[in-house]
């Protein structure tokens, strides 16, 4: 299954590798990973989408939390998170296709970052699924070249996170129980 994990880590050398190490040690394939600065320059935020064995889902979160450089980790897989991704797409155009293509771009709400005689370069944001379908639509107009940022996500609840990093330890036991029934 695809697990969506959001983290706050100390901005220190090796911190990223520690986190990915928990996943790669089990042979899991990381689908996407983004790291960026936060308002606090000593911390980085990280969003990972990883293909995991469902039984391991809750344990992974705890094992990541255990890492010394990890300040906060949240499993957003099943929660109402706001999740987005950006794609930069270069698409070849011909004068005949242009009007139709512009309409598609407008409907999706993508931005044209650069144009020249033969191509458009677009900047599109949306959920990963939305981008998937937009990109396959663009593909029907001709060859494209693209790069995607990977997902970033933030918890969708109306309050900001509690300060108690251990608050969820005992709560998640119940869930772990279901997952671990053999």
């Amino acid at each position: 299954m695809k697990q969506l994990i959001s983290l706050l880590i100390e901005n220190k050398p090796g911190a990223l590798m520690r986190v990915t190490g928990v996943l790669t040690a089990r042979g899991y394939n990381i689908e996407s990973l983004t790291v960026a600065r936060t308002l606090d320059s000593t911390l980085s935020s990280m969003t990972i989408v990883v293909d995991v064995d469902p039984v391991m889902q809750f344990l992974l979160i705890k094992q990541i939390k255990r890492l010394v450089n990890v300040v906060e980790v949240t499993d957003l897989t099943e929660s109402r998170s706001v999740c987005g991704e950006m794609a930069l797409v270069k698409i070849e155009t011909t004068p005949e296709k242009r009007a139709a293509l512009l309409k598609e771009i407008d409907v999706f709400g993508a931005r044209i970052a650069k144009t020249d005689l033969l191509s458009y370069t677009l900047e599109a944001t949306g959920t990963s699924d939305e981008l998937d379908s937009f990109i396959s639509l663009l593909h029907s107009y001709g060859t494209i070249e693209m790069i995607r940022s990977g997902a970033i996500a933030i918890s969708g609840s109306s309050t900001t996170k509690s300060d108690d990093p251990l608050a969820d330890i005992t709560d998640s036991n119940g869930e772990a129980q279901e997952a671990l029934q053999v």
Partner: protein, 576 residues
């Protein structure tokens, strides 16, 4: 404040952490440290291999409760340390490893003896550091000790570049560890947790305590005894937990798990409340998970939140220091005994009787012999010399399991074992480290002939430091535990198990200047052991035992713990 070099700051920081000894091996990039050590009060023990330096640091830590320290140079020195780091990680043993690294400017250029120690040891440590700036050195060392020894203890490595070691700076002792935002510890249980747990305890008709290494790390032996006495519950210990409770304690059953006793494994199968204290539901304990305590509610106490539900989901999980949690539980038990204690009293009484019955029915046993030295007999003899007081460091294999079955321990930190990793070559160097840490104790290194050959060079370290370790080789001529598995599960297709060309131990001992003796007759054993004990210095005793003896009971790997093989299967006669 004074100006000091990185190497001086490093050693000064170790002194401030109360380090009394470093197990190490020098090399190019650590020469600045050795130059300071030349006339420094800190004691350094020159090992004969870095792997053994890490094992010795562990032996020291396991027997003293202090942080063990080992040191190695860059590249091969650092890679040689890693087995001991993983061993310490698996068994939650606090050690700090100091490694030298090539100068910062050369990192990444394939410099001579460069290895990515920081990367290689990431998965081998609880945490690791690469220091490239002298201003961070002292704080990093102190943080390393804090991380190694707090929470769930473990190995921490500090890799320091050579330029840091030779640079100079104003040294200011770190006052206090800066708050580590990503490192939170939970020590005490909440009142609600305590109340709920004690409710579980009184509701149980067949409570069973399964305790392990966490009791020893947390120094909770007395609390464990008080707890089980207040509840009058039976206790089994994991291989890591041996000594957490005196072997002779009336509530103690034995070790449980793959080579645990019948009573311990039947008890865990039949109990209705499993009280798991400082344990991790290791597969060598649980066997097939769904058959482990199948009808029990589980109360799990551990300091590591990631243990909750890792292998078995608890009905109540308490994250906290088991010492603190047990104190609170016992106090609450005493407060509620009057009103609640009568509940299930009868059921609990007959439960204890059942367990005692199992203990009498199937104690650990073996077929005695007049002509051969039985390995179990050898261990019983060592045990009677020890009287529960000696330190016993073992290697990995059959001898390790027999020692776990037959040795008695009056207290914690006497039993030194590579439990989680099962690293052969551990026993001898760990005994060496233990003897350095506990000069007051008799220290036995009980090793197999296989594991002994892995740690042979440390005979020199033992001799050179006049460490009075009593080295006993339980010599069955083969890699015994592998032979046992091939016999029982691979149709006796014995492959790669002969330890032939084993050295003559009397010549070997003489070559290292260690008194030694070989025995192969039961009649000579007592006298040989007496001779070993009478010797002031180290002694090497090679005991030729029955070659084909197996360790029983045995739960086949992945089997249910109540389906033990209790004794040697009888040969099947054709036509029967």
């Amino acid at each position: 404040m004074s100006v000091m070099s990185g190497a001086q700051i490093l050693l000064e920081s170790l002194m401030r952490e109360d380090v009394e000894v470093v197990f190490g091996y020098p090399g190019g990039v650590t020469l600045p440290i050795y130059d300071v050590l030349y006339d420094h009060p800190l004691k350094h023990i020159l090992m004969r291999h870095e792997e053994n330096a890490s094992f010795a640091a562990e032996g020291y830590a396991r027997t003293t409760g202090k942080v063990g320290v080992c040191m190695a140079t860059s590249g091969p020195g650092a890679t040689n340390l890693t087995t001991g780091l993983v061993d310490a990680l698996m068994d939650s043993i606090p050690i700090v490893a100091i490694t030298g690294q090539v100068p910062s400017k050369l990192i990444g250029r394939d410099a001579f003896q460069e290895a990515d120690t920081f990367g290689i040891t990431r998965g081998a440590t609880k945490h690791n550091y690469l220091v490239k700036d002298i201003s961070e050195l002292a704080d990093t060392i102190h943080e390393a000790f804090y991380v190694a020894s707090s929470g769930r203890p473990g190995p921490v490595l500090v890799d320091t570049t050579k330029d840091v070691l030779i640079a100079n700076t104003e040294y200011r002792p770190a006052i206090q560890i800066e708050k580590m935002r990503g490192y939170e510890l939970r020590i005490d249980p909440t009142d609600d947790e305590v109340d709920e747990a004690v409710e579980f305890l009184w509701q149980a008709e067949r409570p069973y305590v399964y305790a392990g290494g966490g009791i020893i790390s947390s120094g909770a032996s007395d609390e464990l005894a008080e707890f089980v006495e207040s509840l009058d519950a039976p206790v089994a210990l994991t291989v890591m937990g041996l000594g957490a409770m005196p072997t002779e304690h009336p509530n103690f059953i034995s070790m449980l798990g793959m080579h645990g006793s019948y009573a311990a494994n039947m008890g865990v199968t039949e109990c209705d409340l499993l009280i798991a204290l400082g344990v991790r539901f290791d597969d060598r304990v649980t066997g097939r998970l769904d058959a482990f305590a199948p009808n029990a509610r589980v109360l799990h106490v551990d300091i590591d939140p990631a243990e909750m539900g890792k292998n078995r989901s608890p009905d109540l999980g308490i994250v906290g220091d088991v010492k603190h949690v047990l104190q609170r539980l016992t106090q609450r038990i005493k407060e509620t005994k009057e009103t609640q204690g009568r509940k299930n009293k009868e059921a609990r009484g007959s439960w204890k009787e059942r367990i005692t019955g199992w203990m009498h029915e199937y104690p650990y046993s073996y077929e005695p012999s007049k002509n051969e030295i039985k390995p179990q007999k050898l261990i019983q003899k060592i045990d009677s010399i020890s009287g529960g007081e000696a330190v016993m460091s073992v290697d990995v294999g059959q001898h390790q399991m027999w020692a776990a079955q037959y040795m008695r321990f009056n207290g914690p930190r006497q039993w030194v074992v590579s439990g989680g990793l099962g690293a052969m070559g551990f026993g001898l160097p760990a005994a060496l480290g233990a003897q350095v840490g506990r000069p007051d104790k008799v220290v036995f290194a009980l090793v197999g002939d296989g594991g002994f050959m892995m740690s042979l060079p440390e005979l020199a370290t033992i001799a050179s430091n006049k460490l009075p370790v009593k080295i006993i080789v339980l010599n069955n001529g083969t890699l015994g535990m592998v032979r046992q598995w091939q016999e029982l599960f691979y149709d006796k297709r014995y492959c790669a198990i002969d330890m032939d060309c084993f050295p003559n131990c009397e010549l070997l001992g003489a070559a290292f200047g260690i008194k030694s003796r070989t025995v192969d007759k039961p009649g000579d054993l007592d006298e040989a052991l007496d001779e070993a004990m009478a010797e002031e210095g180290p002694f090497l005793l090679d005991v030729k035992v029955t070659p084909e003896e197996n360790v029983f009971p045995m739960v086949p790997s992945g089997g249910a713990v109540n389906e033990m093989i209790l004794e040697q299967p009888k040969p099947v006669t054709v036509g029967d």
